[in-house]
Amino acid sequence: MRHYKYLIIGNSAGGIGAAEAIRKTDKEGSMAIISDEEHHVYGRPLISYYLGDEIDYDKIFYRPFDFYDKKKIDAILGKKAVKVDFDRSIVTLDDAEEIEYEKLLLATGGTPFVPPIKGLDKYEHFSFITLDDSLKIRERLSRKKIETAIVLGGGLIGLKAAEALTMRGINVKVVELADRVLSPVLDEQASAIIQDVVESEGVEVITGHTFNEVVGNGGMANGVIMDTGVKIDCGLVIIAIGVRPRIDLVKDSPVKLNRGIVVNKHMETNIPNVYACGDCAEVYDFLSDNFRLTPLWPTAYVGGNIAGHNMAGNAKEYVWGTGMNAVDFFGFPVISAGYINPPEGQEMEVLTKIEPENMTYKKFLIQDNRIMGMIFVNEVDRAGVILGLMRDKVDVSSFKDDLLRIDFGAVHLPIKLREEINTAAV
């Protein structure tokens, strides 16, 4: 039976973050990464860039091809972990191989949520979270000319899919049930600007509606029936409503689950020597001081990294993350983090600056002199300085008036913070 000191299930941000942290202290300890995806590790958010022909295939890969060799990692790819025996410390693969571990990381990621819409069982449709999804859609586009595509979901994944298909010369209609796009990560004002941007590039955005049925012919979709009863013709259907923790592997196991796998700040589950990170786990959020799903690439990597340090014997806490998104639509950048509107029942001071002529918008939420949320539209430089202030719970009262300045940065911070920025090696 194969035996590894470190066994990682998941070959994406979280798994790689852990592997790289482990190798900082333990250069030799045996390590393997299991994934049901056959591919060398790739930048998951790059699947839209590849679909849109914005990057070549070889650019999608996240680390050089000699990564596993150099890091002395056995890459067990194209095999699915189907069972974990936590008493015996053994993972079973779909080909029945049993692998023994000393430390286990569950970095299984997310799975696309596909609602029970009539016709989905009969007609072809696509999710959009894996490289295989991107490859399959590309293959579909190469086989038959597609005039119109329908994307269900106006969130980050849906809009990036819409952007990519637009780049390929396809008419895209985005159907979003909420009254605006990107509603979980942007406020009304910022959503409106982004909707303007994508519409000016030719994407049709239909908010406040959904479709109830996919119709087609011979297994191929050729339209959707909207909730209004109207049929929209299309040659391609993409379902991009959202992602849920992929936790089927540990569903009927002693691992404690809530919406995702429950971990502490050390990324440990309730089972000794078993850790979890990324989209499958409920991780610490410094802003709400609580544990919740944060299915984002940077938080998955950093959470995985902390898990790796702990697996290798370096006690570290994950306190870096909160909801944070940086994204670019048709060359138009947006960054947001934390609260986008004051949560119900909470008093927050709201600072905003909007310049319609430049399509720029900035917003900060402040509570007890502490920044609780930020939105940067089109003018995103130094956004990380604000996120740093949020994370460090810095009292901003002495420079609050400067926050909205276009050049706000390190120079406007109090002397102690400036010294830290200019000299320290944090």
């Binding site: 990597y301 998104n325 300085v385 940065g409 120079v411 090696a425 944090v426």
Partner: protein, 153 residues
């Protein structure tokens, strides 16, 4: 560990660091040609932050925990083990600006001359002393190397 640090108490805001950084990252590395002849002028990777009489050059401080590397979705931002520095490969960059969100110092800039990519200080690893440090007239930018944190001329 190679790192450039700034001393605001002696910075006079002359911006020579920006100029020499741009020269160093130009095609010709010639100050006249870099500013007068080259079609696509290089973007300086150091920026003088200024507020009233206060100023300092801000560039990558080569963080021990490089969150720009950890956050990068494409692998363009990476830690180069050979030089012990955080580096950026514009060929791999897709311009999502996650690194700008991750850098709490505000040291990463956007290069939007052609492909929209991040522009970050590379610490001039091919030079003994980075261009900005070498040309700072007031020793307001200092190179520190290794863990000794010793000042180098």
């Amino acid at each position: 560990m190679r790192r450039v640090i700034a001393k605001e108490e002696v910075c006079i805001g002359c911006r020579l660091c920006e100029i020499w950084c741009q020269v160093q990252h130009s095609d010709t590395k010639d100050i006249i040609k870099a500013f007068k002849k080259e079609d696509k002028q290089a973007v300086p990777r150091v920026h003088v932050e200024e507020e009233g009489a206060r100023s300092f050059g801000l560039q990558c401080r080569n963080c021990e925990e490089p969150y720009c590397v950890y956050s990068c979705i494409s692998g363009a931002m990476y830690y180069d083990e050979e030089t012990g520095t955080v580096q950026h490969d514009p060929e791999k960059c897709v311009g999502c600006w996650t690194c700008i969100m991750a850098c709490h110092r505000g040291a990463i800039l956007r290069d939007e001359r052609g492909e929209r990519v991040a522009a970050k200080c590379d610490m001039c690893t091919e030079l003994e002393v980075p261009a900005c440090v070498a040309h700072c007239p007031n020793e307001a930018l200092i190179l520190v190397e290794d863990d000794q944190e010793e000042e180098t001329e």
